[in-house]
Amino acid sequence: MKLAELESPFERKIEAEEKIEPRDTMPEAYRLHLIRQISQHAHSEVIGMQPEGNWVTRAPSLRAKQILLAKIQDEGGHGLYLYSAAETLGISREELILQLHEGKAKYSNIFNYPTLTWADIGAIGWLVDGAAIVNQVALQRTSYGPYSRAMFRICKEESFHQRQGYEIMATMMKGTAEQKEMAQDAMNRWWWPSLMMFGPHDSDSPHSGDAFKWKIKRKSNDELRQKFIDKTVQQAYVIGLTIPDPLLKWNEDKQGYDHGPINWQEFKQVIAGNGPCNKQRMEHHKYWHEEGRWVREAAEAYKQRISTLN
């Protein structure tokens, strides 16, 4: 289709690969799709602070503690950029948090799994952040300007997270028998949920149609998942970890790995709220949000007081 034939300035911009900015006219469905996607992304960053925060006070060295704290601090920062990006679409952070608490907004399923040993902190950095980067690099080209720009900043930090996670795993694989066992156990528990992070197979993905048309989404779930598997398998072998998939095999024709079937039943169960930590994560978030209410009220009252004085 030629640009001139497109009806609206919105469509013309999308076609010309120009970014849509907050003041531009946009279809309501586009706006709502973005609010849903960006807020889900923001909530994921924030809820993700819980499983990692679970190990801050038990980190095994001062260096490891500092790296983990810095990483969680980054995740909080990502949450902030993303809430701000969502706010440009005409919704407040408080409303977004309310949607989360009411179960209307989701966060990444992966954070409904528990961090049981220190190796899980390595697995989250390496596999979970590794999967997130694959997704987020693709999102740098997303059509909404503030979201795209947030992705550029976030990707730089995520690649540092992925390296530190891999370093934890590599160190443990060079360590004692117990450390190796912990690392392999973490690999076994996090591998499949990490693959599920890319969402259902393309044939079953309910939101993809419009997202592609509007160039919010640039690559399909299966394409991204394949990319993640291909880059991760080698990394696992190098440090002596086994991928817990007996059907994983190099496919010469497609120049990528074939993998065994993903347990979509488990995926659906976790989405439906029956993962090991769904309830715990939400209760934690609600509890501390409520505990902080008096502080937010005080800050607001003080602001009012100062503005009256001036």
Binding site: M49, R58, S61, W118, G292
Partner: protein, 252 residues
């Protein structure tokens, strides 16, 4: 007391204060009243852990069999820790943490300012970095004291009770052992009495800005200079040292 022994203990106190305070602050992770504060408190924790590493690393040189910062952090027991009692008290509500931060960071700003002039070059170098952090920690705490003090009736009361409860742990900051007096003579450590005067004035100004009256004289807890702590420290160390203690052969 031999000079090196005095210096070792002085450094352990500096390192332990930072480590235990950093540990408590890190407990705020994912629990802040707003995302911005979650990030800010983690950042304060991070500064403290970094400072702990620097001081403990240096302290390790004064052992007959040199110890790493990690050895000192993860393999000493309760009675070998010298941090202020205030640092180890439970994290409490946000106002309680802010009150702790106010007292400690006001002290640390003055302490590190003085230590930048230390005749010990390593201490002076660490203090140069630490004083910048402490300044920012103090202004973070003081700003929150004013917001909470002048915010709502609830916030005023919560911060007010925290500040008076914690007052009983403040005078311990300024205690000087014989070893400290020896270090003072050598120009390594500062005169805590001088710091106390300025600290009292500095903290009082925040009390006034935030609409409070500074507490008068009251019973003061003490003991950490002798490694005698509250019951809270043991539990904190159990948690912090668990991996190092259960896998003594492992490197992380």
């Amino acid at each position: 007391m031999e000079k090196n022994e005095a210096l070792k203990k002085f450094l352990l106190r500096l390192g332990d204060n930072a480590l235990i305070q950093g540990h408590r602050l890190s407990e705020w992770c994912s629990r802040g009243p707003m995302l911005e504060e979650d990030i800010a408190l983690s950042n304060l924790a991070l500064d403290n852990i970094g400072r702990a590493q620097a001081f403990l690393d240096y302290a390790g040189h004064f052992y007959s069999n040199p110890q790493s910062a990690d050895d000192l952090a993860f393999k000493r027991s309760e009675r070998q820790y010298y941090n202020f009692l205030m640092a180890e008290l439970p994290v409490g509500h946000f106002g309680y943490t802010i009150a702790k931060q106010l007292y400690i960071s006001a002290y640390e700003e003055l302490l590190f300012e003085a230590l930048t002039q230390s005749t010990d070059d390593t201490i002076a170098a660490i203090a140069h970095k630490a004083v910048k952090e402490a300044r920012y920690h103090f202004s973070h705490a003081a700003d929150w004291c004013v917001r909470l003090g002048l915010g709502t009736a609830e916030s005023h009361d919560k911060l007010g009770s925290a500040m008076s409860d914690l007052w009983a742990y403040t005078q311990e900051f300024f205690e000087m052992t014989d070893g400290d007096l020896q270090l003072l003579q050598l120009g390594i450590a500062p005169d805590q009495n001088q710091i106390k005067k300025v600290w009292t004035d500095k903290v009082n100004k925040v009390f006034m800005r935030a609409g409070y009256v500074m507490p008068g004289e009251c019973h003061q807890y003490s003991g950490s200079q002798q490694g005698v702590h509250t019951e809270y420290l043991g539990h904190l160390l159990c948690e912090m040292q668990y991996l190092q203690r259960s896998h003594p052969q492992a490197a992380w």
